[in-house]
Amino acid sequence: MVAKRRKHYSPSMIVWIFIKYVSLLFFTIVALVPVVSCVITAFKTDAEYQSTNVMTLPESWLNFDNFIKAFDMANMGRAFINSLIILIFVLIGSVLVGTQLAYVLNRFKFFGNALIRNLFLFASLLPGVAMQISVYNIMQQLGFINHLYGYIIMMMGTDVIAIYIFIQFMENISTSLDESAFIDGASYMTIYWKIILPLLKPAIVTSLILKGVSTYNEYYNANLYLQTKQLRTVAISLFSFTGPLGSRYNLICAGVIISLLPALIVFILCQKQIYSGITAGAVKG
């Protein structure tokens, strides 16, 4: 079968295929080199790091000393626990808030429905960093600074892309389901909880993964609002390598690799959902 098809390749096709694979390979290498160099360096001992070129492979791939040292120095155990707590609450909160909002906006016609949609859309245009100054003031007045719950509540806030994914998905869930449930005496709360939420599962999984990765990676707000050492998230704990370590990159690289492992694992397991989440979020137009 394959041999038969090969016969059809014309010279121009062969050139085309060559160009295609060379360029794909080139950009893959571009994407990989910075990360790979980091992995290589993370396995080197201090002496090795100082004497060899950065791209020379390490003597032993089993030298995990740097990882252990980096993990202890940046207090990453604590940081992972903090990040996990934040993730759990932010994800539960944002899924509940997002699906409830999407349910109401999609299923009911009421005064202000369009206005509220537009308010959320407009909010997504406002660059967050620009307003940080006044958000900081509000966080201060609410007493939310240096408390995990303060940061969690702020991060739970409204994620327009997730809401759009939910609304889009809900448009494909037939309203006759709600109708018949309502006639059978179900309240709207029951309809949301027993019908809509289970049917939204694929959209929820997608938004959980995207929101999860972005929450895990968030550092700007975490840096502003979680300043105590005990409250550091993983991304922020990496920051502690800047000062004392200076240019001991074998340790720093080990820290970097540790910090991106969770994202890598999620990516390997949920590639499909991540891709579909990205395309779904963009199609909103």
Binding site: L101, I133, T158, S247
Partner: protein
């Protein structure tokens, strides 16, 4: 008499609660309350406050003093601020390069490719790395004699002729923009692949039978069907380049002439504690972004006048279907 009306009211309230309309209203209020509360506390209230602050001379500790438009005058007269605004040109150029690369790769991958998923995965992964880690990775990458220099030396360059990537004025901005391209091109590519997949595959087969080569297929089938999403991304990336923040913030912390507008604003607000001035900067930038967005929308409306609204609706629907089709394909 009053007892009677009370009773009536109570009854009607109860009836209202039990009625369909009543139940709807209750659920609407219950489900909207928290999201709207969050939206107003963390977006619209600070937005209003920011506009107010921009008319005051204030820091985090002192009592604010009303100074009218003085902050705005300083934004326009301060040379440092003006210079930082010019930097966004680098980022704009970068975002165009990024879009072109992403579109090229997406087109390549949308045809049958061996190991397509592996290529996709490697190119996409940088998008999932946290900003601080990226900062370290690229500080390491660009350090004199380290990763990038080694790679270039393998390609035959001499180390003595190579510049300092993060120190040379001007060039350092190019390096930073490169970082941002590295981070986002895979994500853009996935986006475009999604849009391209929404095109009916029968169209390619028909075109191939008619003897159209890949380039013609790209121009006549792929490009028109994804023009909406490409346009959207051009708008987003230009607006985004005005607010470029992350690469200089985490890699050079704005040293050596790499301080973009946002980095400078962040410094003025948190280090120099000039909250009023920083707020005025934010308001000015927001206005620039809005004007730019509106102008771009008008421009694209004018440029794509022949594709009417109906077409766009159809293509949108197609994209949606496409996403689903993809899913079912992958599931198989």
């Amino acid at each position: 008499m009053t007892a009677y009306t009370d009773h009536k009211k109570k009854k009607s309230l109860l009836q209202w609660v039990k009625s369909r309309k009543g139940q709807q209203s209750i659920i609407i209020i219950a489900f909207m309350f928290i999201p709207l509360l969050l939206l107003f506390t963390f977006t619209y209230f600070p937005f209003g406050e920011m506009i107010k602050f921009s008319f005051y001379k204030m820091s985090y500790s002192n009592t604010p003093k009303y100074i009218g438009l003085d902050n705005y005058k300083e934004v326009f007269n301060n040379k440092e601020i003006f210079a930082s605004l010019k930097l966004c040109l680098y980022y704009m150029a970068g975002s165009i390069v990024q879009l072109v690369i992403a579109l090229y790769l997406a087109t390549m991958l949308s045809f049958k490719t061996k190991g397509g998923n592996i290529f996709k995965g490697f190119m996409f992964f940088p998008y999932l790395i946290n900003g601080i880690a990226i900062g370290f990775i690229f500080k390491f990458f660009f350090t004199r004699g380290f990763v990038f220099d080694s790679v270039l030396q393998w390609c035959g360059f001499n180390l003595e002729n190579l510049p300092y990537w993060l120190r040379t004025q001007g060039l350092n901005n190019v390096s930073l923009v490169g970082t941002s391209i590295w981070r986002y091109f895979g994500q853009n590519m996935i986006l475009f692949i999604g849009a391209i997949m929404s095109v009916d595959s029968e169209m390619y087969e028909a075109a191939e039978l008619d003897g159209a080569n890949k380039f013609k297929q790209f121009i006549h089938i792929i490009l028109p069907s994804i023009s909406t999403i490409v346009t959207l991304n051009v708008i987003l990336s230009i607006t985004g380049s005005l607010s470029a923040f992350e690469p200089p913030y985490v890699i050079t912390s704005g040293a050596n002439g790499t301080a973009t507008y946002f980095v400078l604003m962040n410094r003025i607000a948190h280090t120099n504690q000039k909250v009023g001035l920083a707020s005025a900067m934010a308001v000015v930038l927001l206005m620039i972004i809005f004007v730019a967005t509106i102008l771009q929308k008008l421009f694209f409306k004018y440029a794509f006048r022949n594709t009417n609204a109906e077409d766009q609706v159809v293509s949108k629907k197609k994209t949606r279907l496409g996403v689903k089709k993809n899913k079912s394909k992958e599931a198989i």
